[in-house]
């Protein structure tokens, strides 16, 4: 009788234990998949407990693919965000480059002939001669020796 009571008690205990375990597994998926990867709140389930005959190789490949797809998705999003942010900068650079090209064209078309250097030149004075010298020059235009004689006569005074 005692043995029957004990075995009956153990049976009830085992049933309760099993049902509790089943409930726990159903509520928490990580318990069945402790290596599950989460991206953006969505759990990527992957059964790691595969048969040893398939080996760990397939598992690693599968997980790699998942990670790669997630990384690519993130990169695309980053690219779009950056493109939006840099759009005004790119437009500004394009506009500046256009202005520089226009200026370069204007410079290449500019002719040196248009520059007048007269403003930078020193005024060259024509050799001036005093009125007295001009009078002597006219008087002795054809007789330069006369000027020499006149000079000698003055020097001896």
């Amino acid at each position: 009788m005692d043995n029957m009571k004990i075995s009956g008690g153990l049976g009830i205990f085992n049933k309760i234990k099993t049902s509790k375990n089943e409930q726990g597994i159903a509520n928490n998926p990580f318990k069945s998949n402790p290596f599950g990867i989460s991206f953006k709140g969505k759990v990527q389930t992957s059964d790691l407990f595969v048969k040893s005959s398939e080996g760990t190789k397939n598992t690693i490949v599968q997980k790699g693919k998942m990670a790669a797809s997630a990384v690519i998705a993130s990169l695309v999003e980053i690219k779009n965000t950056l493109a939006q942010k840099f759009e005004p900068v790119i437009n500004f650079a394009k506009q500046t480059a256009e202005h520089i090209t226009n200026l370069a064209n204007k410079i290449s078309d500019f002719k040196v002939e248009n520059i007048s250097l007269t403003a930078f030149k020193k005024e060259t004075k024509a050799p001036t001669i005093s009125r007295g010298a001009q009078k002597l020059l006219n008087e002795y235009k054809d007789n330069v020796g006369g000027l020499g004689t006149l000079w000698e006569s003055l020097a001896t005074v």
Binding site: Y140, V144, L147, W151, L154, A155
Partner: protein
């Protein structure tokens, strides 16, 4: 010599400087560069430089005691100054370079070298 005479000689020197006859250079050299008056030697140097011909410039460059080789520093410096203020220095540069290399007197060669350097710097 009185001031009035000097004023008249100044007019004669000016007239000779502007005279187209080449013999005017000979008169300026004979009477002007040999004058005992510094003032007349200065005026003569100015007139000869203003002519800017080979014959007129040679008088001032290669002759000892005349033009830029004058014993009076005032006359010599005035001659150099007139040469430096020439607009067309081609002829004077040729004469200076020949003097630098070919003249027998070392002092005249050195003076020509100095004036040539001053022309480069001016």
């Amino acid at each position: 010599m009185f001031k009035t005479e000097i004023a008249k000689i100044e007019h004669i020197i000016e007239a000779l400087g502007a005279h187209p006859d080449p013999s005017s250079i000979g008169i300026l050299e004979r009477l002007g560069t040999n004058s005992p008056s510094e003032e007349i030697r200065e005026m003569t140097a100015k007139a000869l430089v203003a002519k800017n011909t080979h014959d007129s410039l040679v008088v001032l460059v290669i002759n000892k005691g005349k033009g830029m080789n004058d014993l009076s520093p005032k006359v010599a410096m005035n001659s150099v100054n007139e040469i430096l203020s020439l607009e067309d220095k081609a002829e004077v540069i040729n004469i200076l370079e020949d003097t630098m290399h070919l003249h027998s007197d070392i002092e005249i060669r050195e003076t020509a070298r100095s004036v040539r350097a001053l022309i480069e710097l001016s």
